[in-house]
Amino acid sequence: MDPNPSPHPTDSQPEPPEKRLAALSLRSAHLPPDFAPAEIQEDDDDEGYLTAASRGGSSSCAAAAWKDEVDGLDDDKDVDVGPPSPSSSGYAGERGSSLASSAGVDDPQPQPDDWARDKKHLDEDDASASWRKRKKHFFILSNSGKPIYSRYGDEHKLAGFSATLQAIISFVENSGDHIKFVRAGKHQIVFLVKGPIYLVCISCTQESYEGLRGQLELMYGQMLLILTKSINKCFEKNPKFDMASLLGGTDAVFLSLIHAFSWNPATFLHAYTCIPLAQSTRKAASAVLQDVADSGVLFALLMCEHKVISLVGAQKETLHPDDIFLLSNFILSSESFRTSESFSPICIPRYNPMAFLYAYVHFFDENTYLTLLTSSANAFYDLKDSRSRIQNVLLKANVLDEVQKSLRESALRIEDLPADPSSRSVSPPPQFSEDVNSQLLSSEMAIGGPAGLWHFIYKSIYLDQYVSSEFPLVISNPKQQKRLYKAYKKMYASMHDKTIGPHKTQFRRDEDYVLFCWITQDFELYAAFNPLADKMQAIKICNRVCQWIRDLENEIFVYGESTLSW
């Protein structure tokens, strides 16, 4: 690969301040325990989100802290006074069941999950001012205009609104054309037509059309994972088919998906990320998964939260990164998987959108879980045996402990970036990391200074995997992190823009960051620097990041069997 990107990438103008939208996410892992509620007051497209997916790794005290925050931040409380949600009536009735008991049980202390569901704001509809003010709406509807899913509000009350969306789409289709998007002031309305299913996003978040369309594609994929594409047949038989009830109980899945759009780079990079592990540890896990895959399992995945520990496909079958993301989102956001082992039909959209596979899912601990996918409906007891075999090997090789350790001590810290061997002027590092023995950047260099690198994401194109560095102190709160991801997403869209690109490098400076992007045949690098960073220095640092990644690649990426010897 080319070690030097062009020294003259195009500079771009700072963004107008109104483009830097308020950003907030309640991603637990990054909430410091003393995170002040006052820091998050702005309305956001991501309010009050919490499910199992974001819960791993947080202390219970942090969980309690969020709850207060979210209660506090809900500035449109007055619209929340609607009918009590099903879950607030004690344990009566799940959301999505056809009937919710309104019985007044002596209410137990509300759990975080309660208000995760409540955040759908069921009392709202398109006539509510609060509903209209929401920054990002997602809708799924049928081609007859029947609502299937809405991020906010009760689907049934949105029938009229759905019909309007359907009318817009069919008006354009009738003239032999396809509608892609509509711009209306600050709002962008993006459409995606998938046979009898229409998906629509209405957003004033300044995201690109391609980005929003990609999000709708993932929503469609998530829906297929739950129902398969054979749902289309129901519409062939009965165009007025009411599909909403078939998605009953999956609100948490879609909520978690929508939330991931703002914090999980997998949603726009179309790559997955791995948990850093010593090569020998990962090899032990991969070997036993391979063993199982050779005996009738299609795919075996061992994951920790949304990070892959190891994954193996029978006969070199591969899983698309989007499928890995959708599968892990589904599992992590469905609480029941954590209760006991389960065996459920699941469709892997990019593998076969028409058919269900069966997924055996088992959580080894709070956040590490095994998924075995098979096409055989009768394989449960075999898979259960396989799981216990895998578990024995994982325990013997200490894999689960190593995973927890890696989770706690995230490997890629900017401060650990090895210094350029040619420049010896760097002050002695405050401490040495155990896996890097060369000189380190001083913290002054890392967070301030002319070359001040703050954060980077590196995607290996060949492996479909990415790694990102730990967030530094200056991007420590979720709001700042979400803003950075938004900047990356924008960068990604402009780098991959087919009409004016593709580009190889881009250097962009605004009042928040200097962003540098570099794409080669082998990798994509997205890096954020202090806004005062010098261009030449930044490019030098990026070269060092790439070298660093190459040095660590055996620990931070998963290699398939055939390439393990690299």
């Binding site: 799940e94 019985a103 049980v105 759990q111 029941s336 389960s342 007891y381």
Partner: protein, 199 residues
């Protein structure tokens, strides 16, 4: 009576597939595949978790597909019964997959919510389905759950009992929340299991 907990992690001894499990083994140690059916939100998972782990979680967690748990029950006559329980999802989209879980089951529990006549009707649908497609000697229980919510009762015990009798099921009202009648339910099923003839 004693409940020895056997978490799913340590019963790797079970062999065969999802469908050929029936009551088995020697006359002192029975094993039975049991399936729970009923609409979403009636409390199937709560009943199972109360029985297997003695826990009750008021936040409803929607079951996906089906969860597998097992629990061994010791009866007074010193026989033990190991229940291999399939706790199925009540969501409409999983209805077509129910046979996967109830085929070959030795016992079935059909659950409704005593505060909802609709869910009682749905329970009757499951009873019919089991009569049509389940194994003929399956032991069936009709369970009215959420008995602690008696102030909101919409389905009378009398009606349910009569319906159960007509369909040769036994009937019990339970509360997973207060643990009322949960162990009794499983004990009753255990007692009714066919005992293998002593050899």
């Amino acid at each position: 009576m004693g409940c020895s907990s056997s978490l799913p992690a340590n019963n790797a001894g079970a062999v065969g597939n999802i469908n050929n499990e029936n009551s088995a083994t020697d006359s002192k140690n029975l094993r039975v595949k049991l399936v729970l059916l009923g609409d979403s939100g009636v409390g199937k998972s709560c009943i199972v978790l109360r029985f297997v782990r003695g826990q009750f979680d008021p936040t409803s967690k929607v079951t996906v597909g089906a969860s597998f748990l097992s629990q061994t029950l010791a009866l007074e006559d010193s026989t033990t019964v190991k229940f291999e329980i399939w706790d199925t999802a009540g969501q409409e989209r999983y209805a077509a997959l129910a046979p996967l879980y109830y085929r070959g089951a030795g016992a079935a529990i059909v659950v409704y919510d005593i505060t909802s006549p609709e869910l009682f009707n749905k329970a009757q649908y499951w009873v019919k389905e089991l009569q049509k497609h389940g194994s003929p000697d399956m032991i069936m229980a009709l369970v009215g759950n959420k008995a602690d919510l008696h102030d909101n009762r919409c389905v009378s015990s009398q009606d349910a009992k009569e319906y159960a009798d007509r369909n040769s099921m036994f009937f019990i009202e339970t509360s997973a929340k207060t643990a009322d009648n949960i162990n009794q339910l499983f004990e009753e099923i255990a007692k009714r299991l066919p005992r293998p003839a002593p050899s």
